[in-house]
Amino acid sequence: MNAAGNPTAQTQLAINGRDYRLDADTRTTLLDALRTHLGLTGSKKGCDHGQCGACTVLVNGRRVNSCLTLACMHDGDEIVTIEGLGKPGQLSPLQEAFVRHDGFQCGYCTPGQICSATAMIEEIAAGWPSHVTDDGTGKPQLTVEEISERMSGNLCRCAAYPNIVDAILEAAGGKRA
């Protein structure tokens, strides 16, 4: 219980390799825990309903819409946010490619795009099929079509989509075809 009388929960989170202890209202989403309680505002809130992808973070290596899950459900989980992927002067290859290819304009969807792409590249490498993978059994390739399909959960109203695809292709060494 907090002072006002709302139930709270103690949650241990490993975020970007650092341990955080959170004591928050049980209704707090993972996204609001990051943004409001822990000062990690790199993850964005575009809809709060799992419809835009701006809040994408990695939970135990997998991409998750952090607005759709409560912080208290993640006790002991390892979380990586955009702040953990690189910092100014030390960008990840994907972050660098986003800058070079102008894979954003306003930048609001961008942390979600980059977190999502980071996990997506691993998913392709692990052979997970998508809607556009030929027969569902073959090994998916890193192509424009696969990337566009797999990145379609991350909306960008500035519509940097073609540049996002180019950035991912370059950073992950994929093919244009």
């Binding site: 709302n6 306003c106 960008c156 996002i164």
Partner: protein, 732 residues
């Protein structure tokens, strides 16, 4: 020192051409890019102070009537809730662009479903949200409310000033060899910037600081001060990063005023972010349009008449009405012309500017009509347009400042492989996919808006650019830095641009595609003044001074700037204003679109396979960010053509699809690897940069290229946008 320029005459000298740093126009990465890709760029809701409280807006659930009461006391007794604000200063809706004064403030008088009526403030967001959801409103609904523009009881306004007619269109229609007379409809749209409107307010005595997500700070400051009933100089707005705008953040919005009132009353900082549903309901939408277009052409396809009449909607007392026909008076020839504009006064979420108000929807309908004319006349759509480019503005009889439509059309046709198109619809098939090509022209009026900026050359020889201009993704940080770097001969790393603070010189703001050219001109003028001051120091003529790589070069002297400055710094302001140039010539930007679609014969689904945009907008200040603006505009066009549509309940006008699951923005898989060509152009009438706006050009007519391609693929002519599956398959 201030250097001032009012654009009364063309500026013949292309001053940037004299410069040698070589950065202007180059596809340089955004200087703020590193901050954005690492999540370090602070947007409005991202610097919350320790004791910050959170507010959640409450909306009305009737479309017209009165709010008699709210159960304030029950809600204020809930855990953590500190306050329910029902102040008479709360805004009904956002201010229209460049209003500079408060919009209607009437929270107890309900004018539309979704109107903000109260703010619930609590210690945490979760508590405030709970309170806002539980609040019970005593509402007195009016028995009769008109919510549909086609309701026979809707009051229709026909503003005299917005009607125009020359010649005799009816006669032209009778005498023409080929005619088109059709109705087109476009639904309401939303800007849907990814960052929802958000404000963080805090007071220091009677001075307010607001971190907000806004496009036009000098206007927003005046609007906010007026709404609160305080002096402008007591208000400071900060918006260094704005998560998209597209018109939705032109005017001060309800969350800002609510946050300021709550913060003052509680004596703590208060943050209010609209929910996505709030943004759909409370922020100005693009009006739906109903358009009648008449085209009369001679047997060569040359237009002798154009009629374009539009019906749009808004609340009874909102001044804005979607300027649907804005490009029609000057785009094509034709001596008999008729422009009509009517406004249905209805009770839906009020309408305002959404990316390229006017041309976005008006040119789209006109360009579908042109495709119909090409079909009935048997003339190729590109050729038909080429034949109809006027020598001068046919409505005003004034010259064009520059004109690139023909070049855009021919360049695009060649690059896209247009000659391979079979004009007969439905002839190309790949399995169950029907393939078609379509095209359209692009055009958008060009404007200059009063703007100021300050440039300081520090004693170390670095430049600092300062203005209250915003970068809403448009590339302002990049292009202003490039301008200063070019004019002062500095590498980009030696220039810093500070934006988004009303404490800095007031700029045009971001809107109407005028930001980069207007504010860029102010930066240019400030730099010219600094160059003059350097000349004074070096006792040389301006034409003898070369600035490059941090050095001043005069004859065979080459001095590092820091050495020349000798501990002093130079500072200057630039100030530009529009003048008579606007009336002497017609200024616009032009382009062309080409699209290839595949339409599924079984489902009616349309996929855009390829798309090309060719644009000219005077001097391009940064080829990379300009291209991105075009990609963004064309993608809005794909959405308009195929999926985007506000749906209103017929009974009470409420927006049914008020989230991203139901209002369908284009996603990555909906957008092909769009090809963009930027044509070389200089427009000496626009400003001394000879640059024009490009932020909206890419949406103006883009949807028509897609819809015309659907026709070429299938023979189905969709005149009621978007071309959803049901409409396509119904015609197959």
């Amino acid at each position: 020192m201030t250097l001032h320029l009012k654009m009364d005459e063309p500026v013949d000298r292309d001053r940037l051409e004299d410069m040698v740093q070589g950065v202007i126009g180059e596809p340089i990465d955004r200087p703020e890019g590193e901050l954005k890709v690492t999540g370090r760029a602070p947007y409005a809701m991202e610097q919350l102070p320790e004791n910050c409280h959170h507010g959640v807006l409450v909306r009305s659930t009737i479309s017209k009537g009165r709010l008699a009461d709210l159960d304030k006391t029950t809600i204020e007794a809930l855990p953590g809730i500190r306050l329910v604000v029902t102040d008479r200063r709360l805004l009904r809706n956002p201010a229209q662009g460049m209003a500079g004064e408060a919009p209607v403030q009437e929270t107890d008088n309900i004018h539309f479903f979704g109107q903000p009526v109260a703010l619930v403030v609590a210690e945490t967001f979760e508590q405030a949200r709970h309170g806002a959801q539980r609040i019970v409103q005593q509402l007195q609904a009016d028995t009769k409310v008109v919510v549909n523009p086609d309701d026979p009881e809707a009051e229709i306004e026909t503003p005299r000033k917005k009607q125009a007619s020359t010649g005799d269109l009816d006669k032209a229609m009778r005498e023409a060899a080929f005619t088109v007379d059709q109705h087109y409809t476009t639904p309401g749209h939303v800007s849907a910037a990814m960052e929802p409107h958000a404000s963080l307010a805090s007071w220091d005595g009677d001075s307010l600081t607001l971190h907000g997500s806004y496009q036009m700070l000098r206007f927003n400051r005046a609007e906010l001060a007026d709404a609160l009933g305080i002096d402008e100089d007591k208000v400071r707005i900060l918006a260094p990063y704005v998560g998209g705008g597209f018109g939705s953040k032109l005017g001060i919005a309800p969350e800002a005023v609510a946050a300021a009132i709550a913060s003052k009353e509680l004596g703590v900082p208060v943050a209010v972010a609209m929910t996505r549903q709030n943004v759909f309901e409370m922020v100005l939408r693009r009006s739906e349009t109903s358009q009648r277009i008449r085209l009369a052409a001679d047997k060569e396809g040359r237009l002798i008449g154009i009629g374009h009449e539009a019906l749009v909607s808004n609340l009874p007392d909102e001044s804005f009405s979607e300027p649907v026909t804005q490009a029609t008076p000057f785009l094509y020839r034709g001596e008999n012309r008729l422009i009509g504009h009517r406004i249905a006064r209805i009770h839906r979420t009020p309408a305002g500017s959404v990316r390229a108000p006017g041309e976005a929807v008006g040119l789209t309908a006109l360009e579908i009509a042109l495709d119909e004319l090409a079909e009935v006349s048997g003339i190729d759509p590109v050729e038909l347009r080429l034949r109809n480019i006027p020598e001068e503005d046919p409505s005003q009889g004034i010259p064009f400042s520059s004109h690139t439509l023909a070049e855009a059309l021919t360049t695009g046709a060649e690059r896209f492989g247009w000659e391979s198109r079979d004009p007969k619809p439905g002839t190309v098939r790949e399995g169950e996919w029907m393939i078609g090509l379509g095209m359209a022209s692009a055009a958008r009026v060009n404007m200059l808006i009063e703007s100021k900026a300050r440039v300081t050359l520090t004693s170390e020889g670095r430049a600092v650019v300062e203005t209250d201009m915003t970068d809403i993704g448009t590339g302002t940080y990049a292009v202003l830095s490039q301008l200063a770097a070019e004019m002062l001969g500095l590498p980009m790393t030696e220039v810093e641009t500070r934006l988004g603070d009303t404490g800095l010189p007031p700029a045009s703001g971001s809107g109407g595609s005028f930001g980069a050219a207007s504010n860029g001109t102010a930066v240019f003028l400030a730099c010219e003044e600094i160059r003059r001051q350097i000349c004074e120091k070096l006792t040389c003529e301006p034409d003898d001074l070369t600035l490059k790589d941090g050095h001043a070069i005069v004859g065979n002297r080459r001095v590092p700037l820091a050495e020349m400055l000798d501990g002093a710094e130079l500072s200057a302001e630039g100030h530009t204003e529009p003048g008579d140039a606007e009336d002497k010539v017609r200024q616009a930007t032009y382009g062309s679109y080409f699209a290839e679609v595949a339409v599924n014969a079984v489902t009616g689904e349309t996929r855009v396979r390829r798309m090309l945009g060719v644009f000219a907008a005077g001097r391009i200040l940064n080829a990379k960010t300009a291209r991105s603006q075009c990609l963004g505009g064309m993608t809005f066009g794909i959405g308009m053509a195929l999926t985007e549509e506000l749906l209103h309940d017929k009974r009470d006008g409420h927006i049914v699809n008020r989230d991203f699951a139901e209002y369908h923005l284009p996603v990555n898989a909906d957008v092909p690897q769009i090809d963009i060509v930027l044509l070389e152009e200089r427009d000496r009438w626009a400003n001394p940069l000879q640059a024009k706006g490009i932020g909206e050009l890419g949406i103006c007519g883009a949807a028509a290229a897609v819809v015309n391609a659907v026709h070429n693929a299938t023979g189905v002519r969709v005149r009621d946008l978007p071309a959803t599956l049901d409409k396509v398959i119904g015609g197959l």
